[in-house]
Symmetry: C2
Subunit: 179 residues, 2 copies
């Protein structure tokens, strides 16, 4: 059994590492992504100490990261009867996970950026030079696409999973060369 156990552990560690790497390149702290991967693939909720041990990280780091995951809505804390320790479990449904991340990032990053861009646009509304015209028109295009994208994302992430899957399949079917 220990062979199998080891192979399993290895695969899981590989997943945790990969998820961590993906996180980094998507603006999510590596450790946070790793802790998430751990909880996400864990049978049962884990305590801070278990997370520390599995990932070889400090108590402070584990604590902060778990809080942050709860803040994102990607994990929640679980208290077992008769135990004082706090345990954590991840959102296990992949579609819901995706929606949470997408909406949260939009709210934190895209929405404020759109506002700033609007302000930039207002600031040059009175300028008549060719330079200003180029700038204005580019800015308008960007804003338009961002706002459209935002609304689409809002719709997609607030629909039920099954309807969205059907929609995806339709897009795949319809996108090909025309009849």
């Amino acid at each position: 059994m220990s062979d199998k156990e080891d192979a399993f552990t290895g695969a899981r560690d590989a997943f945790i590492a990969e998820w961590g790497a993906m996180g980094s390149s998507w603006g999510i702290n590596r450790t946070m992504a790793q802790v998430h991967a751990l909880l996400f693939t864990s049978e049962d909720p884990l305590s801070t100490d278990e997370v520390m041990a599995e990932l070889r990280i400090s108590r402070g780091n584990a604590n902060t990261t778990l809080r942050e995951l709860v803040g994102w809505g990607l994990a929640r804390s679980v208290i077992r009867k008769g135990e004082r320790k706090e345990y954590f479990e991840a959102e296990k449904d992949v579609w819901r996970m995706f929606c949470i991340i997408a909406r949260e990032r939009k709210r934190r990053e895209a929405d404020p950026a759109v506002e700033t861009l609007q302000r930039c646009l207002n600031a040059v509304s009175g300028h008549r030079s060719a330079q200003a015209a180029t700038f204005r028109s580019q800015l308008e295009s960007v804003l338009e696409l961002m706002q459209l994208g935002g609304r689409v994302l809002e719709r997609i992430t607030s629909g039920e999973r099954d309807r969205m899957m059907k929609l995806a399949l339709k897009v795949l079917g319809a996108g090909g060369p025309r009849p």
Copy 2:
């Protein structure tokens, strides 16, 4: 005029800063995003020296970053008759820009990740423990969603802009409460 000039410059600098910040939180080097913003809103192509001067960055940094932008397909170099200097201009079409970024990131990040995840999945195929079952099923769900997402993205970014805009509007119309 110098008042107007200053206000324009200010707005443009704000845009460059914002674009840089957005870049950082989307895994794109801040400077690269800034140089892109500069070219993207510039009337004419710019030389390395002009980029250096506008953004107050070193020659090495400017050169590397411009190369990288060309590598991504977000900028191209332009040579003017009778001049030895190289100038750079950005892709100005926002939709095409979006498609380039989306496809390139998929190719560089998502595709390799999917492969790794596949390998993780294979590695645990023979395991029968409850732990392994949880792990396997979570991994399967993630892979499925990533692959579906990838195919959808591929379709969307290879269609013509107008068709995609129509699609977007349809999604917005259809997503509401059912009749």
